[in-house]
């Protein structure tokens, strides 16, 4: 498990503990260090199908640990271009590397202006500190 908490500066964050890495008109989505730590070792990722659509602030998948199920909330709206099969096959990848190998899906943005509503790393860390 990724031992220490970390929130990279190059990512955008959603208050429901999801992150987005903006790459042109696409984005890679995942869950934050805080989310994976709260859940514990992940054992299942119920992934969306390729070609389906995420809607900002709505559920697009589920992650499960031995004890708990959690919805994964989309930080941005878009079409799902790719699902990380490595996480479907080995969900603990998310615990080991939540911002790298443990990404969940890649989407094509449908409304790039939504990006402005997300938190930067400082604001997300502030939110965690207040919880």
């Amino acid at each position: 498990m990724a031992a220490a908490d970390s929130y990279p500066d190059d990512l955008k964050y959603h208050p429901e503990h999801d992150w987005a890495r903006i790459e042109g008109d696409e984005a890679v989505l995942g869950i934050t260090w805080f989310a994976q730590d709260a859940l514990g070792e992940l054992v299942h990722f119920e992934a969306p199908t390729q070609g389906s659509h995420t809607k900002k602030d709505s559920t697009y998948g589920e992650v499960e640990s031995v004890k708990a199920v959690s919805d994964v909330i989309a930080p941005l709206s878009g079409e799902v271009l790719e699902v990380n099969q490595a996480v479907v096959d080995a969900p603990e990848t998310v615990n080991e590397d939540p911002y790298g190998a443990g990404w969940l899906v890649r989407i094509r943005l449908e409304d790039p202006s939504e990006v402005d509503t997300l938190l930067d790393a400082e604001a997300y860390k502030q939110l965690l500190a207040e919880q």
């Binding site: 498990m1 514990g40 070792e41 054992v43 299942h44 119920e46 589920e62 499960e64 640990s65 031995v66 004890k67 199920v69 479907v88």
Partner: protein, 350 residues
Amino acid sequence: MSATLLRTPLYDRHLGLGARLVPFAGWEMPVQYDGVIQEHRAVRTDAGVFDVSHMGEIEVEGPRAHELLQGLLSNHLDKIAPGEAQYTLLTNERGGIIDDLIAYRLERCRYLLIVNASNRETDYAWLKAHEIGGSDVRDVSDEYALLAVQGPHAIAKLGLEPAPRNSFAEVQIDGVEAMANRTGYTGEDGCELLCMAEDAGALWDAVLARAIVPCGLGARDTLRLEACLPLHGNDISPDTDPISAGLGFTCALDKEFTGVTEIRRVKEQGPERRLVAFVMTEKAIPRQGMPIEGGGEVTSGSHSPMLDVGIGMGYVPSARAAPETVLTIDVRGKPRRARVVKKPIYKREG
């Protein structure tokens, strides 16, 4: 977290080990230390220790203690002598299971019952209400702590001699006195160490010093589910009978005890539904309360750390209870296939 939660004598040690504590049956208990899956594997391959001091201890003593318990518990107490213990059920008039427990025969006329934490008060009230002259029922839970040491290397690491299952004896672990009962709730070899509450810290430290891994209730649940040991409140309850639950082996139907008439009837007619074990054949994790197509419900479900698939137990109509039967489970609106398997779901080779 509520200030009214009870704490075992090992609470500070759990905090010191970085355990994640959760409320369970009115107690603040460690659900995991370093991770459920690694703790689970430690018990399957080596040895782990669980603080189960939240469990209740009820002592029944007196010249008619045996007679009282023979009439209230399902198993036959004549099968055990002083120094032996027995898995048994406390049943109601409808043949339902008030609790499942272990009865230790301490002396010919003195028993100690180790009961589920969540049923401690109910069990005590039931026993007290049925008390007869010449039997004395006392809740002695606060006097004791209980450590379950489980795994293929548990007995050797504790420095204990091999002994028959369900036998118990007084032992010393590095100078700390305890009663070691060869039982457990994981499907592995091992024992449960009962000691005085004030000795719990020293016993815990001695066990950890023998390179036995601290394990939380998370791993305890996945271990018992792989072993198909029922959890009261999930798989069995005052509304389920022992025959449907596959616990007929704990019922001495040739003696009289509360609810025996109803249990005999279910046994004769055959139960309408049965508690089965199943393994998911599609990627999904079954959870308690999920409907099973064709009538039935998941009573326990989780991920099997040894098989790396979703596993569970649930009640299904008897016609669908045979191994290899395909079940469809409603996983939050999505149908997911499972296969009925023979119990236990997992057993270590050799």
